[in-house]
Amino acid sequence: MVALTDPAGELTEAEAPRSRLARARRLHLWLALLLIAVALASLTVGATGVQLWDVARSLARGEELSRMERVVLMDIRLPRLVMGLAVGAALAVSGAVMQGLFRNPLADPGIVGVSAGAGLGAILAIVLGALLPPALLGFAGAHLVPLAAFFGGWVSTILLYRVATRRGHTSVATMLLAGIALGALAGAVSGVLVYMADDSQLRDLTFWGLGSLAGASWTKLAAALPIILVTVAGASFLGRSLNALALGEATAAHIGIPVQRMKRLAILCVAGATGAAVAVSGGIGFVGIVVPHLLRLASGPDHRALLINSALLGAALLVVADMISRVIVAPAELPIGIVTAVLGAPVFLWILLRQRGVVDL
């Protein structure tokens, strides 16, 4: 937002905003490099003494990895890293798309009740899962909680869409209010369930509610990763449409954007990415708000670059948060949701204050 004072004329003026998009696109590369660095660091940090460097050296010498090294790297750190990357990208992109859709930098899947619905699904599974017929329980097994969370997020999105959409037109105001109502309802039902829970279930609930990547496994990833990849890739095509939507729905339509179809696609992307992320990692908050906001400050609001940058920075941020959560109280670990909340809540408040200064909500 640099206002050029150079009076040289049109060319200088032209280059400033143009280079803003160019700068945002150059940021793809830097964020990708950051992501690689963070990913390597994450593979080498952990409770056991397995160092990535040692492993690389023994591999170079043609030695076999020890069983311990293989298990730690392939079955613990790698799935956790991949999950962190996928969940971080999913949450950040969901946030960026929601904000574009609602034309409000504070919008987030958490706000429209998608996360709350997914959370309710998970809590239902934790508390009432034991009541299921043993055959069904055996069939669902470890997938029960993630499946239920995914289902809850999906149902709440459909419900929300039904409430807020009439004759093919989605009212953003109604959708926001309906999201608040759904969130409250899900919270109330969750509260009842928590009241009913026994001690061990309570610990599960707390852990899940605060969010964690500790449960990462290849089986969970197999369920979540395809959904996240498809929805994040789909969202990256929404850039121009979301830019147009910043001028309002009517103007976006005048410009030639098929607004209703595009909104449906955006909602699907958000529901898919958020549902899958919450299902495998619980309620990790603030990534979807903080990441797009920082990127808008750094390189402008153009969604053509913002969505991809959000995916990259979101992934990197969550992996860093995960490393912090593993190291800070080692050998125990902090739920990652606490880390993102500590990092994110002040930023959220800061955005709120800034926005109140500029736009009166």
Partner: protein, 262 residues
Amino acid sequence: MVTATDLTVTLGRNTVLEGVDFHAAPGQLTAICGPNGSGKTTLLRALTGDLPYRGTVELNGQDIATLPAWALASIRGVLPQASALAFPFTALEVVEIGLARGRAGGDTRAALQALARVDLGHYASRPYQSLSGGEQQRVQLARVLAQVAEPVAQDGPRWLFLDEPVSALDIAHQLEVMQIARDFADAGGGVVAVMHDLNLTAMFADRIALLSRGHVLAAGPVAEVMTTDTLSRAYGCRLRVGAAPAPGTPFILPHAATLAAE
């Protein structure tokens, strides 16, 4: 041509427009006038397909209900009454957003030319939200101009639909914006504008559709519609229509002023 036939718009329980016929020809500036609540903006929004309506609206001979958004966008640009922007885009970026469809290359150049056209070339990299209301309105006009690109293309004339394009502007920029619309029409494009200011309308428009309570009270060339009798009836107050000295365009004075003059 813009041809609307038997247009009826119902908002909630109110019938805002009833059985309205409307015509506008390329090469002309057609003004939609009338008192507050007479249905001016509703008519414009029906013509641009923003409101559900009964009846038909044709643009260049095609029913707009059958045209996809992108096809309409290549034929006509729409300037809304007020535009809020959600994120801190610059003025130039706002104009470029209008180019979302169609021309891929040369976006910046076209956008800059459009900004220069509305006298805002030097504000290109300013954040849109930091501009005054009138400046924002001119940026939006630049966006619309850049979108339609030229008054006439191979497949027919282009159209500007303007909803009170000068409402937030000082008198110099009112004249400038009306002149831009006039030039667009003179070059063969069509302009349909909702107008509040009768004198500006008299100066720049070719035809007027005068609305009253959701009906067309009068429609035709400016000189035919702008009579003391018709205008007084439409607005429900006493007005006096005179003739300006040089070009002979009508001018309108409220009654109190005519008393003072006499």
